[in-house]
């Protein structure tokens, strides 16, 4: 097997608040080009895990390496796109057009006083085309539907030309039709643009053929390399409790 440096290399990661363990001894790797879904019950630590991956929370134990560098020394944040859980629930009164938001994707790369240059504008345009929101460019974000806002937030993340896209429950506040289109889009970004994708979901129905690997997080992590097998594996049942039962039903329906 060819040796590869993983994008994320997580070793023995633990996190707790006030003596309560939220995650314990998690080790996992995420490689270039992967398409990974993270599932698990509420309060199981999914969001905490990705917040640690992004440097928003500090682990109580363990190490995270990003593109081979310790997280605290990592500087090339434009390689990482993040779409938080509340992305589609933006404050309706915030004074921002779609273009204002997507431009933010280039903000960190520009220094003092410098305005967005040709390259930035091209990247922003490109991201809007990919997310099919070019016609919404001058609309206020507050007036858009949940599905449209979600695409705007992803366009913002794409504008920095990331190598990995991390999405936390991207479907909060989005209707079913938009959800389907959305997963098709994610899959396309993964296959055609070669962007590594990691997303948290509640929506077990979407763990479809395209997903490469599945991480089940409930304090501990179980990494399933074959998602279809994972859905029936006993370990998952033990971890996931009652929801594992739902998964089985779901499978029978098909």
């Amino acid at each position: 097997m060819k040796f590869k440096i993983p994008i994320f290399d997580v070793k023995n990661l633990s996190f707790g608040v006030r003596g309560q363990k939220i995650l314990s001894h998690i080790s996992l790797e995420i490689f270039n080009g992967e398409y990974i879904a993270i599932i698990g019950p509420n309060g199981g630590g999914k969001t905490t895990l990705i917040r640690m991956l992004l440097g928003l929370e500090s682990p109580s134990e363990g190490t995270i390496k990003l593109f081979g560098k310790k997280l605290s020394n990592f500087k090339a944040w434009h390689k990482v796109g993040y779409v938080p859980q509340r992305a589609s629930l933006v404050d309706a009164n915030f004074p921002a057009t779609v273009l204002d938001i997507v431009n933010m994707g280039r903000t960190a790369q520009r220094t003092l006083f410098s305005f967005l240059n040709k390259e930035d504008k091209a990247a922003v345009y490109d991201a809007m085309v990919k997310m099919d929101i070019l016609d919404l460019k001058d609309k206020m974000v507050g007036t858009l539907s949940g599905g449209q806002r979600q695409r705007v937030m992803i366009a913002r993340a794409l504008a920095s030309k990331p190598e990995i896209l991390i999405l936390d429950e991207p479907n909060t506040g989005v209707d079913i039709v938009s959800q389907r289109n959305f997963y098709a889009l994610l899959s396309k970004l993964n296959k055609e643009e070669k962007i590594t994708i990691v997303f948290i979901t509640h929506d077990i129905g979407v763990i479809a053929d395209d997903i490469g690997r599945l991480f089940t997080i409930n304090q501990k992590a179980i990494v399933c390399n074959n998602p279809k097998e994972a859905l029936s594996c006993e370990e998952m049942s033990a971890l996931y409790g009652i929801e594992a039962h739902l998964i089985h039903n779901h499978k029978h329906e098909h």
Binding site: L54, G55, L56, K75, A76, W77, H78, V80, Y82, P84, N93, F94, P95, A96, T97, L99, D100, I101, N103, M104, G105, T107, A108, R110, L112, F113, D138, M140, G142, R156, S160
Partner: protein
Amino acid sequence: MLEMLEYEFMQRALLAGMLIALLASISGTFVVLKRYSMISETLAHSALVGVAVGLVAGFNPLWIAVLVAILSAWLIEYLRSSFALYSDAILAILLSGSLAIAVIIVSLGGAFNNSLFSYLFGSILAVSSDDVITILFVGTLALALLLAFAKELYFIAYDEEVAKTSGIKVKLLNFLLVTVVAVIIALSIRIVGSLLIGALMVIPTVAALQYRVGFLNTMFLSVIFALLSVISGMTLSFYFSLPSGATIVLCVLLIFIISLIGNKK
């Protein structure tokens, strides 16, 4: 030409007032979007501590006010990021704490007189040419800093965490913003008064937000509203012998009410 412009003190006051309107409204845009409006009230009261020290010790109150306001802004940011305290509670504590300290200093020093009163409510008569030069010089620097980091500050106001994960130095820029706001407020209390400066910082932006336009247009409207309020407030204050700060605030309130009703959904 208008009669009021024949007076040198009015020329000075108008010039200083317009500079302050520009500074307060631009910095206010970021402050309001960060849901941090109350910081302007708190820093204005902290600046009063500086004024009190200046009056009692015989230093230039403006410079000490700038210094104390900056220290207070840093303390707020430090408390906010290092302790599990609600930020609005921190602001309330420092606001009343500062006012209490200012009043004690002034009464111990026997300076509880008209000079303090003029810093509470603002006075256009009190603006010296030194004040105008200070405001012009320091204000330009503050404005340059705000504009240099406008894109970043806007991103942080929109979503602090996403800004952080994009590689923006959020903590540093938050300190920068509160520092600049502290300086602007301390410079402004001479004209608008420490009890009223918050209004000039916050209300123009809130009024501009009613028009539901993009970021740059919101900031632009906010500047226009602040300038309009200062010019009309000072004019009314001159012709009807009204207190300048309060008149300016009533003008900006009127603009806010018109904007609110005119843009009702």
